[in-house]
C-alpha cells in the first residue's frame, strides 16, 4: 500500500498541500530558471544552439569529471554535494602557498605574483566551469549532468603555470601514479580542460599521455581557445581530444572562438547580448560564481556571465557524462562513431571555407542504445 494511504487524514492533507506546493515550485522553477543552453522543459521554443538535454534524466552510473582549472570554491551552494576531494597541482615555485596540497581552492581575490596582474574573473573561472558540468540546480544553476561528480584540480594560480603541472594534473585525474602524490581514489572518466595556449603543434609528451588515456576509455575535452578565429593550439589540437568551439544562442560561431576545421564540435559559449525577443537574448551561460557585495565582502551568487570557449567545453563534458551515465563502457571511438546523432549543422562561416562546423545537440534520447 502506498505510504500516503496509511497516514492520518490531517497528515494526508498536509502532504497533498506540500506536494502541490512542490510541484508548483518545480514548475515555476522549470519555467523561469532552466538555463537557455540546456533547452526548455515545456513546449516553448529552445534556443537555436541549445543542447536540449533538460528532459533527459541521468543514468544509473556516477561519472567523475575532472575540472583542471584555476581551482574551485567549495562553499558555493550550487556545487553542494558535487565535489570530490581534489588537489592543488601548482608546483611550489609558482604556488603562492609554496606547496602542492589538497587545497584546490583558487588564490585569494586580488592575489598578485610579483608584477603579474590577474583579472578577478580568473579566480572564479574553475567554479563557473564546474557548475556547468554538475551544478545541482540551486538558484537555477543546472549542470548538464547534476548527477556527475566534480574532481577539482588546480593548475593555474596568480603565477605562471608549468607544463609539467598540467601533465601531472591530467595523469592524477585519470588515476595514474604521480611522483610524490597520493593515488587519486576517484579517477575521472572525463577530463575537462578549459584552457588554451601551449604549442601550435601538440607536443609529444601531451600526445603520448592523451593516447594512453584514450586507450583507457577516458575522454579529454578541451576548449578551442578564445583567439579570435585563429587555429587550435594545445591541448585542443592533440589527436584524441574533443575540441570545443563556441556558439552564440543563435547557432553562429562566436567572434572570439578559435576557427579550425579540426574543431570536433561546437557548443553554446555565450557572447554579446542578442537583439531578439527571447530568453536566450542574454547570450551568456548561467554559472555559479562569486561577487563583492556593497561592503566589499565576497559572496556566492549565480549569474548569466559565462562567455568563452572555456564555457563551451564543460557543456560538452557534461553532455558526455550524461551519455556515459547510461553507457559507462563506451569510449572515444564510440562517441566519434555516434557523433552524427549528437550534432546539427552550425551556420557556415565565410572565414573558414573548409570548416563544416557541427553543434552539439541531443537529437535522440541519450539513454537509448
Amino acid at each position: 500500500m502506498p505510504h500516503f494511504l496509511k497516514t492520518p487524514r490531517r497528515h494526508l492533507i498536509t502532504q497533498v498541500l506540500v506536494l502541490c506546493g512542490a510541484v508548483w515550485g518545480v514548475g515555476l522553477a522549470m519555467a523561469q530558471d532552466i538555463p537557455w543552453h540546456l533547452g526548455t522543459a515545456g513546449g516553448q521554443l529552445s534556443a537555436p544552439s541549445a543542447i536540449n538535454t533538460i528532459q533527459d534524466k541521468p543514468g544509473p552510473n556516477r561519472i567523475v569529471v575532472a575540472v583542471i582549472d584555476s581551482g574551485v570554491m567549495s562553499g558555493h551552494p550550487s556545487l553542494a554535494g558535487q565535489l570530490l576531494p581534489g588537489y592543488d597541482m601548482v608546483s611550489p615555485a609558482q604556488n603562492l602557498r609554496n606547496k602542492r596540497s589538497t587545497d584546490f581552492t583558487p588564490d585569494e581575490r586580488g592575489a598578485k605574483c610579483g608584477s603579474r596582474l590577474m583579472a578577478n574573473s580568473f579566480r572564479t573561472h574553475g567554479t563557473e566551469v564546474a557548475s556547468l558540468v554538475a551544478g545541482n540546480g540551486v538558484d537555477g544553476v543546472f549542470g548538464v549532468n547534476p548527477e556527475a561528480k566534480i574532481l577539482p584540480i588546480r593548475v593555474f594560480g596568480a603565477c605562471a603555470m608549468s607544463r609539467k603541472d598540467l601533465v601531472d594534473a591530467i595523469s592524477w585525474a585519470a588515476g595514474l601514479p604521480v611522483a610524490g602524490l597520493p593515488v587519486n581514489p576517484n579517477p575521472a572518466k572525463i577530463i575537462n580542460l578549459s584552457m588554451a595556449g601551449g604549442s601550435a603543434v601538440c607536443g609529444a609528451d601531451l600526445q603520448a599521455l592523451i593516447d594512453r588515456l584514450v586507450q583507457d576509455h577516458k575522454f579529454i575535452v578541451a576548449a578551442a581557445g578564445n583567439n579570435f578565429h585563429k587555429p587550435l593550439h594545445e591541448p585542443a589540437n592533440c589527436t584524441g581530444v574533443i575540441s570545443v568551439g563556441a556558439l552564440n544562442a543563435e547557432n553562429r560561431i562566436e567572434v572570439y572562438s578559435a576557427l579550425d576545421p579540426r574543431t570536433f564540435v561546437y557548443a553554446p559559449g555565450g557572447g554579446a547580448s542578442l537583439p531578439v525577443n527571447a530568453d536566450w537574448a542574454v547570450n551568456k551561460l548561467k554559472v555559479a560564481t562569486y561577487e563583492l557585495d556593497f561592503v566589499g565582502n565576497e559572496r556566492a551568487t549565480t549569474r548569466f556571465r559565462g562567455v568563452g570557449t572555456s564555457y563551451s567545453a564543460p557543456v560538452v563534458a557534461g553532455f558526455i557524462s550524461l551519455w556515459l551515465s547510461h553507457h559507462p563502457d563506451k569510449n572515444f571511438a564510440d562517441f566519434t562513431r555516434e557523433k552524427p546523432k549528437f550534432v546539427r549543422q552550425v551556420l557556415p562561416i565565410e572565414q573558414c571555407a573548409e570548416c563544416v562546423p557541427m553543434g552539439l545537440v541531443n537529437t535522440d534520447r541519450l539513454g537509448t542504445p
Binding site: K112, L117, N120, S121, S194, G197, F228, N283, V307
Partner: protein
C-alpha cells in the same frame, strides 16, 4: 569581391552602380594601404618590470592559460567577458587595480567593426567616454594608432586594439 544586398536599393541598376562605386572607393583605399577590411588585433599592456620571482620566461609550449585569457607570459590576463565589460563601462579589476580601455573615435571603421563584433554600441561608448564618465569607467579616447599604443602603455593595466599585431616592451597581442 563586392557583394551587396538589394533590399536597400530602388533597382538592380542602382545596386550595381552603388556597388561599383563602393568597390572603386574600397580599391582606392586598399591601394593606399589602408586596412579597410582588417580585423583589429587586441593588445594588452605588459608588466612594466619583471621581478626575479617571475622572471623564469617559459618556453612557448609552457604558455598555457585559461581559454578565457591572453597567452603571453607577462601580458595582463583578461577574459573576453572582461573585454566586453570594460568597453561597456563596467569596472574590471586586475589584482585590485582597475583595467583601462583605449578606443579610437567611434566613426573610425576599425573601431566600429571591432565594437560591433563584441556586440557593443559605438554610441554607448561615446557616451561613456564623455568627461564625466571617464573617471569611473577608465575609458580613454585616442585619435590614432600611435596614441593607442601610448594609451595602452601609459595606463597599465590596459587594453586596446591595433590593425596589425605588434610587440613592444609595453604591449603585446592578447587573446
Amino acid at each position: 569581391m563586392c557583394t551587396h544586398g538589394l533590399g536597400q536599393y530602388r533597382s538592380i541598376g542602382d545596386a550595381v552602380n552603388l556597388g561599383c562605386l563602393n568597390c572603386l572607393i574600397l580599391a582606392g583605399l586598399m591601394a593606399l594601404g589602408l586596412p579597410v577590411w582588417a580585423d583589429a588585433v587586441w593588445h594588452c599592456s605588459r608588466a612594466p618590470v619583471v621581478d626575479v620571482a617571475t622572471d623564469s620566461r617559459p618556453d612557448p609550449g609552457d604558455l598555457f592559460t585559461l581559454a578565457e585569457q591572453g597567452v603571453a607570459d607577462d601580458v595582463i590576463r583578461i577574459s573576453v567577458r572582461d573585454l566586453i565589460d570594460v568597453y561597456s563601462g563596467v569596472s574590471v579589476r586586475l589584482s585590485g587595480v582597475p583595467l583601462s580601455a583605449c578606443f579610437m573615435p567611434v566613426n573610425d571603421p576599425v573601431t566600429g567593426k571591432t565594437l560591433r563584433a563584441l556586440g557593443l554600441s559605438a554610441d554607448v561608448l561615446s557616451a561613456l567616454a564623455r568627461k564625466s564618465a571617464i573617471a569611473k569607467s577608465h575609458l580613454y579616447r585616442v585619435t590614432d594608432e600611435e596614441e593607442m599604443k601610448a594609451c595602452i602603455a601609459r595606463n597599465h593595466p590596459a587594453v586596446g586594439y591595433l590593425t596589425q599585431a605588434q610587440v613592444t616592451e609595453k604591449l603585446a597581442p592578447c587573446f
